[in-house]
């Protein structure tokens, strides 16, 4: 039976994992390579790392960090943040990423999804979608939720699938960072409209939130703070889910 994936997410600047709400009050949580090694050993099913400050200067260090992490883990690694074109994708795959996640570059230029999946295979192209409610509609947003695009969330989700995305990393900007749980209604809307895997992101604060995330038919559950702060160990989340009847890898 296919297991529900528990995915810690590392928001990275250069080689440090950071936490900040809406890019303010950024706090260093630890060394990215050390944290990645720890999560791989302690039962993470996959690892996600995002360059949250992909400036030209920081990029080189970030790529080196991807290389270093790929060397110390033996679970799949998804890397995103600051991916603007095909060259960035190739660079990250060469650095050791198994999957690359594209966000605003895909919104700007949807053809990039098609080009990337033809070049590298759908299985390594993840499209990250940030969604937000606006005037009673679910819209696609960019720039950390600050810019609302014209795209309807569900239309876009279907489109990225048809363009060849292998997976959707779905973050609700309405619930991200506040630890009140995943955005179940938004996630359900997405999972019921696509047939590719969806990773739920944004809002986990307690164990029950993971279970509710599973009920949305998302096959991957992504979390950051609850793991980085030490509130939960990956194993304890999985044991909890197993007791609830959710298939997990223990």
């Amino acid at each position: 039976m296919l297991k529900t994936r528990i995915i810690p997410c590392l928001d990275v600047i250069k080689n440090k994992v950071v936490k900040g709400v809406n890019f303010k009050n950024i706090k260093v949580m630890g060394n990215a390579v050390e944290m990645a090694r720890y999560y791989s050993l302690s039962g993470a099913d996959e690892l996600c790392m995002l360059d949250i400050n992909a400036s030209y200067q920081n990029r080189k260090t970030f790529i080196k960090t991807v290389e270093a992490i790929a060397k110390v883990i033996n679970i799949p690694l998804t890397v995103g943040g600051g991916v603007s074109g095909l060259d960035d994708i190739t660079d990250l795959l060469n650095a050791g990423a198994d999957k690359v996640s594209i966000n605003s570059a895909a919104v700007k230029n949807p053809k990039l999804i098609r080009q990337a999946s033809l070049k590298h295979g759908s299985q390594c192209i993840v499209v990250a979608i940030d969604g937000k409610r606006h005037e009673n509609r679910m819209k696609v947003v960019v720039k950390g939720g600050r810019e609302i695009t014209k795209k309807e969330l569900i239309v876009w989700a279907k489109q990225v699938q048809s363009l060849g995305a292998g997976e959707i990393l779905m973050t609700s900007m309405d619930t991200d960072g506040v630890q009140n749980g995943f955005d179940s209604s938004m996630l359900k809307k997405v999972t019921s409209n696509v047939s590719i895997p969806v990773i739920a992101s944004g809002g986990v604060g307690n164990l029950e939130h993971f279970y509710l995330g599973h009920l949305t038919k998302s096959t991957g559950l992504l979390a950051a703070s609850v793991f980085h702060s030490g509130k939960y160990k990956i194993k304890s989340v999985k044991k909890y889910l197993k007791n609830k009847g959710v298939p997990v890898r223990l």
Partner: protein, 208 residues
Amino acid sequence: MKKKVIGLIDGQSGNIGSINKAIKEIIKGRPYQLKIIRGEFDYSLFNKIILPGQGAYATLISNLKKLKIYKPLKIYLENNCSYLGICVGMQILSDQGYEERTTKGLGIIAGEIKKFKSKKLIIPHMGWNSIRLKKEDSIITNNLDNKDFYFVHSYIFQNINKSNVLANTHYGKKFPSIIKKGNIYGVQFHPEKSHKYGLNLIKNYILK
């Protein structure tokens, strides 16, 4: 003592970093050496060959042909020399694949590569799933039965002779996840990304 030579084929189908790293860890301090195969090669120099693959069947076959790896590899396999194909590296052992376009395979293990059919399934089959062992073998020992391995694929090996199946996995339906014919092995999952049990399998393959 003469070192045994492990060949790792870079078919430009996904990155070979993880498998490269896994093999190096395993052979460290042991009488083995690793050679990366990137073009035409003398198959008589290799004791074992590993081919990891991601992406499409048609792409991998055409890459191997372009790189002049296809012919020596086919002769190597026709002589029942030791091989481990991972994911698409396993699939191309079949007679034919239907991903992107109909493509003739290496024709080593009878069967065809077809897409998962059910409309209800989330495709690709992506994530950790367990294997059910049918026959114990040197690469897949009893302690790996029912363990989880990492899968990413939309196509499966079909119409295979049952005697070539070492393990099955269930996703919508049962499909072969480890196959074998003589000294030739194929695994549908990615052992190099499957944590300790994956490494265990690669180690079994290399050392036994």
